[in-house]
Subunit: 159 residues, 2 copies
DNA sequence: CTTTTGGTTCGAAAATGTCAGAACTAAAAG
DNA sequence: CTTTTAGTTCTGACATTTTCGAACCAAAAG
């Protein structure tokens, strides 16, 4: 069982690594996703992952940074420890940022097209690029509407 | 102008690196996106990027691989050279694979939820995870429909 | 059959990333 | 004021990735 869990954590870790994080960062995410209770202290993370304080500190700092925001911590009165957990809100807001992500890549493609037009480069290829951009734009415009639609759906069914 | 172009290529390159490729792979993509004509020979790439034949070869191989398919080449009769270019089709099919990408991450989250239920872990957190998954599922289901909608739109307006 | 062209493949070197240990700090406890 | 706790920061070692140069190969040219 415990062994099973560790293998599972590694798997989650690899997935997270694919998104550009270090192996340890991935393991922290995996560990917190399977934790019970759903939060852990700094020390527990060190022990459980057999990692040094410095590595845990560095990686937690990264995972809690503004731009990533996958982990957060809370404190308890009269207790010096920090309790780290997955930030569900961070995860959600990460979802909300997907359109921006698309948008950035798309802006770059748009600039490329602009450059190609200004410099009279091979029009046929430019046109093909335009088509890709227009699809992206379409998706980007639709995503917030989907989110909206989902909120409505949730309101009707669940709560 | 030429200098401007190089800076631009680096910028495209960084964006591509963020998707998990090497700097040189990113530069190749950038170079081909701004190329005129829209294809280049192996030698031209080596010269333009001041990179070794081996590096260009390795990276082109990667970029042309089944799973990435961002670059392709064509040949001309009576000409031994290969002409490398951006694969618009590969790019398109990459777009088509976005739902699968989402799906994989989502499957992992689903497994995590399953584990948490089976082992009676902190239900509140499990419930929050469920909500994220259900939103993902919703999006995944909708994306192909959006693609469809876009195709229709294109048919009406353009061609 | 030899040379040239257009690459590929195989180590090794250089650049980067990851992690641990030790020294440090700020706040609380004694 | 000293000690302990809960981390942080810095430095260097180790691992991985990226790139290069040299040797190699297959096909075409001479």
């Amino acid at each position: 069982m415990e062994e099973q869990k560790k293998i599972f954590i590694e798997k989650i870790g690899v997935k997270t690594e694919n998104h550009g994080h270090s192996p340890l960062a991935g393991r922290i995410i995996g560990t917190l996703l399977l934790a019970d209770p759903s939060y852990m202290t700094f020390e527990e993370l060190c022990d459980y992952l057999s990692a040094s304080k410095s590595s845990i500190s560095t990686n937690l700092k990264l995972l809690m940074s503004e731009s990533i925001a996958m982990v957060e911590y809370f404190t308890l009165p009269g207790d010096r420890k920090r309790y780290f957990r997955i930030s569900v809100q961070g995860w959600q807001s990460h979802l909300d940022k997907i359109p921006d992500e698309f948008e950035y890549g798309n802006q770059l493609l748009t600039d490329i097209i602009q450059y190609r037009i200004e410099n009279h480069l091979d029009e046929n290829f430019t046109k093909e690029l335009k088509e890709i951009v227009s699809f992206y734009r379409f998706i980007i415009a639709k995503l917030p509407l989907l989110k909206e639609e989902w909120e409505q759906l949730k309101l009707k069914n669940n709560i």
